[in-house]
Amino acid sequence: MDSDRTRSGAEASAPGTGEIIGVSDLVLVTGSTGFLGARVVTSLLNRGFRNIRCFTRRSSGLDGFDVMVGGQHAAGVDVIRGNLLSRDDCIKATKDVAVIYHLAAGTGEKSFPDAFMNSVLTTRNLLDAALGHGVLRRFVNVSSFAVYTNRNKPHRGLLDESCPIEAHPERRGEAYCYAKVKQDELVVGYGTKHGIPYVLVRPGSVYGPGQRGITGRVGSGAFGIFLHLGGTNVIPFTYVDNCAEAIVLAGIRKGVDREVLNVVDDDLPTSRQFLRLYKRHVRPFRSIPVPRLVSYLLCAAWEKYSTWSEGQLPPVFNRRTWHAYWKGSRYTNTKLKALLGWTPDVTTAEGLRRYFESCRIRERDVS
């Protein structure tokens, strides 16, 4: 692998507009037919990019993607199908690519090995392939707030890019968190060892039309009735279009290599406000508010029992989870705005309105 070639590629072709690539440069979007990926492609098209390679699984449907971006026949969009676990597919996908937006990930998997395989091995294959071609100017790794720990911060302490990463993600009992921490580590390692220019983008809770369910930061319906665990915590929402725009900017703006950028919108609602609005605009349902101390004690008790019983109950609720999701933090997008010049185009009020409307339509269709 030749890391110098990668660096010289970056230096050779900055177009001098505050951006590292021009609209005719080839960009690759993995996970491009997903909830967020399709919006990233749309955002790139809106910015005039006309050489977009969209990588998607062979098994992925393209219906939603077609509606969103005008389909694989849209001008400047080339959809290629494959499997990121295949090195050959990655080599083909990354050929001549200047910027990679890596959104494909193992989401929603309960199995640690599956999540790891679909997040870390895929990323390793992409990075190796890009190194081989030697023309990559930036690798945008889309990570998550799930990697942070706020255990040593006070209630409502500020969670920003300087917040520590979960040191033992395997103890969180959450495969996604584990895989994302390891994926970030891998990317940083490639940056250090091979000089891959990267940016880590960490969105908060991405929401918008097409998303299903209520984020676990608000509560859980796992026990048949909705337990409202978020209380007065601020939920780190980012509307899907705003988030996509931030991701796109992270791939093209100069001077942000090796940066970590958290993505949250302005005027964030509290969990209680969100739940009230959801019930009013989508459907009413019963929920039980769980005070913070009670939720902490329940999580601690569950964790203790899980350990004592050698996993008779899996450690899905534990103190690390509680800190990450229900303790309550404050969030900022100051760095994102300062480095990328990003502003959320869609206000939170408007974003929630669109989200609730889509939820309402789905509820109506289901019933």
């Binding site: 699984r57 062979r58 090995p113 790891f116 870390v120 091995l121 050698e310 996993g311």
Partner: protein
């Protein structure tokens, strides 16, 4: 005595093995191996295995395990198991044991020749309920002979998104098996029948087809419905039903003897006795429901006690099978699953796949 154990193949099922291995006091996990080194490393990190490898030779030479658990895709079971046996290791192979009966025969013969223990991960046969049923059968509850068995094995493909992702990749190892999806999932249901059948000459009639649900998703490429009739040398018969569409998703086994019957529900962990003799007149319409209700209450109480005693893990059968396998090594006693049963299950599956049309990927 502490046995040294290693795992080859660090995917999803390896987690289930390691979770139970560490609950068994008499063994130590000494290493993990996966041809993808990152997978081996993540496994070793999470389960505190002292060493990890991406080369089987290295694992066998350097970690020197006495027992190897093979949790790779089935296509590689034979090669890896043979290498481990030739190296002098006892071997626990995850189901399906091999891709065909010939490979199974070679492994069984090799293990016997080398004086090593070999087992297959038919762990559902060692759950609490399955052991209770076996105990009743051994006590003669069914009578002199097994007349008929019915084994139901349901499989929930989940929502269409999941099924599409799982089945959409033509190169997925499940699609590459000679028996396709069926081969990867019917072992538990077939093994129950194999345990109670006699002899080697079995008559098998199988019919497989694609459910309308999968037809919509991926055409005629993956069989997900199977019906089988089996007759053994003594005339005992069995029906096997595999379905991805039948609701509820059953993991149920019914066995009828010359005197009584038994119903095992693997998911509910219940065993219900079916009385062979009917009561007189109207009593038959009022008393048996009460007897059945009493039995279900008894099952509930038993399950609750097991849970409170911290012995009701989802993978309790796996732990029991592992512990029994390890004991057979230490005590030099027969393995928990006789080799004849392993071979019978493998031959049954061969016969089934010969009769149903498994589309090539």
């Amino acid at each position: 005595m502490s046995l040294s154990v290693a795992i080859v193949g660090c995917g999803k099922i390896a987690d289930a093995h390691a979770g139970q291995i560490r609950r068994i006091k008499e063994c130590d996990l000494v290493g993990a191996c996966d041809r993808e080194e990152l997978m081996a490393r993540q496994f070793a990190e999470r389960f505190e295995a002292p060493r990890y490898f991406h080369n089987l030779d290295q694992l066998l030479e350097e970690a020197r395990p006495e027992i190897v658990h093979i949790t790779t895709p089935p296509q590689s079971h034979f090669t890896i198991a043979r290498q481990c046996l030739e190296h002098g290791c006892h071997v626990y192979v995850e189901k399906p044991f091999t891709v065909n009966a010939h490979e199974a025969e070679v492994l069984v013969e090799l293990a016997e020749r080398r004086g090593l223990r070999l087992t297959v991960g038919h762990d559902a046969q060692f759950s609490h309920a399955a052991r209770r049923m076996r105990s009743l059968i051994r006590q003669g509850y069914l009578g002199d002979t097994v007349v008929h068995m019915e084994s139901y094995y349901g499989y929930d493909l989940g929502d269409p998104m999941y099924a599409r992702a799982f089945l959409g990749e033509k190169g997925h190892w499940v699609r590459m098996l000679p028996g396709g999806l069926l081969q990867n999932v019917i072992s538990h249901g077939i093994a129950r029948i194999a345990e109670l059948l006699s002899g080697e000459n079995l008559r098998v009639m199988a019919h497989g087809f694609v459910s309308p649900f999968l037809q919509r998703l991926c055409g005629e490429e993956v069989l997900d419905e199977l019906r089988v009739i089996i007759v053994d040398e003594r005339g005992s018969t069995a029906y096997f039903t595999f379905s991805s569409q039948m609701r509820p998703v059953l993991h149920q086994f019914r066995v009828y003897g010359s005197r009584n019957g038994l119903v095992l529900d693997e998911q509910q962990q219940t065993v219900v006795k079916l009385r062979g003799r009917a009561l007189k007149s109207y009593l038959e319409r009022f008393v048996p429901p009460i007897i059945l209700a009493r039995q279900y209450v008894g099952n509930t109480v038993r399950n609750a006690r097991l849970f409170l005693r911290n012995d009701f893990h989802m993978e309790a059968g796996k732990k029991e099978l592992m512990a029994a396998f390890y004991r057979s090594i230490v005590d030099d006693t027969p393995p928990p699953i006789p080799s004849s049963e392993i071979l019978r299950a493998a031959r049954l599956m061969d016969s089934i796949f010969e009769q149903v049309r498994i589309p090539s990927p």
